[in-house]
Symmetry: C2
Subunit: 448 residues, 2 copies
């Protein structure tokens, strides 16, 4: 039994929904289908969810925005027409949108959540109806009916444990079940949405609850690449990687999907397959719990810019018990989250994402560190990039560090920071942003 | 003008003191001489300070220990006889030892400090007298007279700022000034000792106070080696290194002297020269403020075993603000000082010296981390060694990391941890203790 999730581009128009239908028809194991709201049909298109948010904002501003309203309705209307479905479906979607808009006037949070959920809900209504016309027994299943109960945090709901039991019962249902992603209900019966990208969360929750054999996540890429294809042309595709590798790779640059969304599936050790709706016969990428057989020890190279290095030095720092802790505490009190903190004997670098420490906060932070820790020197260097080499068991392999650092040297790139702890599946390098592409290309050449 | 410090082996017997005298006579710039207590004359000998401590402990235990007492007196007696000095010097030393022993009975801390100081004091009395017989105008200068004022922390005194002004006045004094190391006086006129190895502290303080051109530290090695000579045979000697390099090298394995002792001299940017009493014409090693010209970028390789790796992993750790700080805080509360804390996305390694986390504390620490941080996994791996490659400007040089990691690979050694922050003068590697010698030899071959 499989749970299958289709992302926004997979349900962007009638033609895409036809592909989705064929995918579902091709494998009777595909029991529960989780869908996103219609996404972009072309580069300049607007996602349905963004249209719904704009609509909600005009309601909040007491502005009549007929154009946006018509646009939303037409997104669904055109799909329904092209799939030759009954117009009553459009009426249903329209009613939900109207009700949600009205709710925005009296309760902004509840109203906005209800309005945002109309995209996924509309897709689910349409797809379940279309599957029937293609001779598949299928049902629209509302998250409440499915038993997806969540905490009452509008726009950031967390699933409640009791949901999984309810979801397990879906195994007994007849036919194909089409469930709108992105939202659930509180125990008080209020609709609340997950964070953005929440259809991935729904998919993962449903897969975990139903304890299926496979969770398929259909998107618009053939597979996960071992390196950013914007930097290296036609890079190798990853056939298999582990949850941990996926998580490390997601950290920087590998934004195939919302990696945290996979936690429920990971906890149940359900394998996840990333596939392409536009090329369903491709192998895709499998994400599994256990180390796959693999040539070499490196699975992929992740990279991202937009980091800064906060550097402090103080003579005899390492004899001062609690220095590192105090430094991190100041950052915590200033609500700055850090990434890494490699330390020497008398100095410490703290790697922070640029946006965590905006320029206007710099002086405050520097002053506090200066005054409270009496450091000898403090500097902040922006324009840093991080490169991460990821692979299970890599750290048991002799020579990976050598190969990697030699690749940096060959690209004539100076390494500002190296961070590798034992038992970890990654090795991290900090370099100047300007050197990023050169370094990644050289690493790719060395490892793939 | 120079301040010269002679360590324990340089003043171990009459013959050594003759060498010391020739060294002082050879250069009239050698104005102030700081001396240790007589050290070991051969491998199985006992240091005078250790004899004095044993003596003090028997007094505390109300045990008459004539053998130890006689041994202490004979250490000084034999030197005085061989140098053909007046027996009144021995009487003076004996009186001080007797008074200090008496004081131990009524005030242990004060008494022990006074007793421990008798070694250095005796050397200074003897040397100043002997210099006179060798036609050098010379004076014994008690630390009180010199103006070395310290905090009232028995066995761990810290110098008070006003000392430096007093010491500056010593420049005006006639002749060669012989000052016993290791102790000073509180503003209330109480004798208090520095921590063990405190003659280096006195030397550095006197050099800083007198603002001399050079601080010479005579010991029993020709110079600082670029690698542990117990691991690599006849390694290269270091002609020059910077304060920062010295400090990093001292961290592990380079125990030529008490590196923290040098702080006062460093603060005044006084160059320090390490020389060998048994080979005074050798170049020695200069420790300076600014980067020396040097072939290659690496100054030395330090190494030490006796570390452990506390490893924790927790899914989504990096989204948890304050995780790293909380972990370090638990360690701080358990009075465990850590060395480094490299972190991955969802895990963190904390490198700790073995003795900081004794086996009986392990469970408490593990339980606290488990309960307070709800981690997924926690392991403690002992038998780790750390290797540090040190060199000013190394991090500006491309290819050092590559050379180093390739040396590990060539030695077939797996690297468990790498830690390098930007602007640092060192790069640190964690490996299994068993691999230490192989790795150091391979690194030496690569860099020297």
């Amino acid at each position: 039994m499989k749970v299958v999730k289709f992302g926004g581009s997979s349900v962007a128009d009638a033609n895409q929904l036809k592909k989705v239908t064929e995918i579902i028809r091709a494998d009777r194991e595909r029991k529960a289908i989780v869908v996103s709201a219609p996404g972009k049909r072309h580069a300049k298109d607007t996602k349905t969810t963004d249209l719904l948010i704009t609509l909600g904002e005009s309601v909040q501003a007491h502005v009549q925005n007929q154009a946006i309203y018509d646009q939303v309705i037409e997104r669904f209307g055109s799909i329904i027409r092209e799939l030759e479905l009954d117009q009553s479906i459009l009426e249903k979607i329209k009613n939900r949108i109207d009700e949600a808009s009205d709710l925005v006037k009296t309760d902004v949070n509840r109203g906005m959540d209800a309005l945002k959920s109309c995209g996924e809900d509309g897709t689910a209504l349409i797809l379940s109806a279309y599957l029937q016309t293609r001779e598949l027994e299928s049902y629209y299943v509302n998250p409440k009916e499915a038993g997806i109960f969540v905490s009452d945090q509008p726009g950031g709901a967390l699933v409640l444990d009791e949901s999984f039991e309810h979801l397990y019962k879906l195994r007994e249902r007849e036919g194909v079940l089409v469930i709108p992603g992105f939202f659930g209900y509180t125990l008080d019966d209020e609709l609340v949405t997950f964070s953005r990208g929440g259809s991935d969360i729904t998919g993962s929750i449903v897969a975990a609850g139903m304890k299926v054999d496979l969770y398929e996540n259909f998107t618009d890429v053939d597979s996960v690449f071992c390196v950013n294809p914007m930097i290296v042309e036609n890079p190798q595709q990853l056939k298999t990687l582990t949850y941990r590798e996926m998580r490390e790779l997601s950290y920087a640059g590998f934004s195939v999907f919302h990696d945290e969304a996979l936690i429920p599936a990971f906890k149940e050790k359900i394998p996840v397959c990333i596939k392409n709706t536009n090329n369903p016969s491709g192998d895709g990428t499998m994400i599994v719990a256990d180390l796959p057989e693999r040539e070499g020890h490196v699975a992929g190279i992740a990279s991202d810019s937009g980091f800064l290095n906060l550097y402090v030095s103080k003579y005899l720092m390492n004899r001062e018990v609690g220095f590192g802790r105090k430094l991190l505490q100041i950052l915590e009190e200033e609500e700055i989250s850090f990434e890494h903190a490699p330390s020497g004997i008398d100095d410490m670098s703290v790697i922070i994402r640029d946006h965590q420490l905006p320029a206007e906060k710099e002086e405050v932070v520097k002053d506090r560190i200066q005054n409270e820790l009496q450091v000898d020197m403090i500097t902040i260097e922006r324009n840093m990039a991080m490169i991460m080499i990821v692979g299970e068991g890599m750290n048991e392999a002799i020579g990976v560090a050598s190969k990697a650092t030699t690749a940096f040297r060959d690209a004539d790139v100076n390494i500002d920071m190296i961070n590798q702890g034992s038992s970890e599946v990654s090795m991290m390098f900090g370099i100047k942003s300007d050197d990023l592409n050169e370094a990644v290309r050289s690493l790719y050449k060395a490892f793939f």
